[in-house]
Amino acid sequence: MAKVLLIADHDGENLNPTTPKAVACAADFSPEALDVAVFVSGDNGVADQAAKLDGVSRVLRIDNPANEHCLAAMLAPQIVKMAADYTHVLVAGSTFGKDLMARVAALLGVLQVSDIMKVESDYVFQRPIYAGNAITTVEAPSDQVLCGTVRAASYQAAGEGNSASVEDISVDAELPDHTRFVSVETHKSDRPDLQTAPRVVSGGRGVGSGENFDIIYKLADKINAGVGASRAAVDAGYVPNDMQVGQTGKIIAPELYIAVGISGAIQHWAGIKDAGTIVAINKDEEAPIFEVADLGLVADLFDAVPELEQKLG
């Protein structure tokens, strides 16, 4: 039997959409307990959101001014103190989770399984390597706490029919002062969140400029889709970094993915291979994206995308 401690990823107001997916993964263990730790500085309802998630036994709220920006250096020593009561410590494999969990694991002196995509038993998992071009089955030692990050794209979010208890706890850990938050720059948008949107339209280098990205946004808005981009489009400054999809960007699994002016490098492919239907629009019929797209249209994107937008009306 497993006793799982899951660390919630949130921005102070909302749970990150990867967390309900990580809860679904945690429920695939044989959990005797599935506790969610919410580190906050003054709670704006995050703990209550976590308490609704199916499968959660308890929500543990750790309210401390030091937790304001959820820095790994601050959270890790607290999690280490809490870990003694658990067999597994999990977190979603978001940038928050990746930054945090390996620090926790090393402080505990234990290994970590990154990007769990399938739980075969409490200590046997599947995880991707080589940008998802191979899937390994790995066995972790069962005589130590197991730290893991969850590949959120492999899971459906846990339902919200629960009402677990929320308990305030205090954790007595020595916190460092060597790391300080300065600022965060986010791009608020009213479009559906890239990581959870059922439909996503992405643009690549072929789009040519930031202004040209307007045709991508217009198409996305027409079908209520999130918007992503290839690395080349981000590097060229057409769009901000948080839109990058791929091995080193966001890994997503929408029902519909429309790749526009994207060649289909393996690193990009790594981010979309779980998508339901992949559509590619590219003027080069030899582009590798056509080998994997369910529906390919060889066309100039500046003609095809506005036409598509119009005809989807």
Binding site: A73, V110, Q112, A134, I135, H178, V184, E185, I223, I266
Partner: protein, 248 residues
């Protein structure tokens, strides 16, 4: 100050890897090997810090088989001053790599250790954070900008929400993201010069490091195949396909 940069030998990022039919791993024999692309970015950043007058010496470190010295030569050709090869026969996992780097950090006392945010073979993304934990120092992961200011560094990090900036006291661990810089090309004369630069060879035992128990890989399989390839002739056909599939 000194800078330490870790470089891992991995299958080149352009190679389409093949899974062995018996499930025992991926084919690496006869496959092009390179420095992990994120480590090249770490090397480049160290060079820029030194060129700006903020560091005196750059030490490149690899942990791996004899052949990993090729990647150390590349690091030396890029401009590292010296290199350390921690020779091991088997692949090691992040916790052990972090223990090795910690032992070297104790010995060399660098002001900053730069690593890739992930090695593109195992995609674990752990070693930098683990080193920071064992060394009891700050970590600035997924860096896209590093500004040094005396005994502190301001680092901008690529996070899911956008760009986060943190300030860390040195010594610190920095892991690199793609947009931190564009690594330079190595020129032939630099490759010649690099041949004369020293590579020290050491071992886990010499460093007093015990390998941590690792994950046991019991099977390696190719991912599920996707049946792609259908082409549509026009936007109209695309629209009707999307409608038929209930996607629109």
């Amino acid at each position: 100050m000194k800078l330490m940069v870790s470089v891992k030998r991995v299958v080149d990022y352009n190679v389409r890897i093949q899974v062995k039919p018996d499930g025992s791993g991926v084919v690496t024999d006869g496959v092009k090997m390179s420095m992990n692309p994120f480590d090249e970015i770490a090397m480049e950043e160290a060079l820029r810090i030194k060129e700006a007058g903020n560091a005196e010496e750059i030490i490149a470190v690899t942990i791996g088989e004899q052949k990993a010295q090729e990647q150390l030569r590349t690091a030396l050709a890029m401009g590292a001053d010296r290199a350390i090869h921690v020779e091991v026969d088997e692949d090691i996992q992040p916790l052990t790599a972090a223990r090795v780097l910690k032992a070297l950090a104790d010995k060399e006392q660098p002001g900053m250790v730069l690593l890739g945010k992930q090695a593109i073979d195992d995609d674990q993304g752990q070693t930098g954070q683990m080193l920071a934990a064992l060394w009891d120092r700050p970590q600035a992961t997924f860096a896209s900008k590093v500004d040094l200011d005396g005994q502190k560094a301001k680092v901008t990090r690529e996070v899911d929400a956008g760009l986060e900036t943190i300030e860390v006291d040195l010594p610190a661990v920095v892991t690199t993201d793609l947009r931190l810089n564009e690594p330079r090309y190595v020129k032939l004369p630099d490759i010649m010069k690099a041949k004369k630069k020293p590579i020290d060879t050491t071992s886990l035992a010499d460093l007093g490091v015990e390998a941590a128990p690792g994950l046991k890989v019991t099977n390696t399989a190719p991912p599920p195949e996707r049946q792609g390839g259908k082409k549509v002739e026009s936007v109209d056909e695309l629209v009707s396909e999307l409608k038929n599939r209930g996607l629109i």
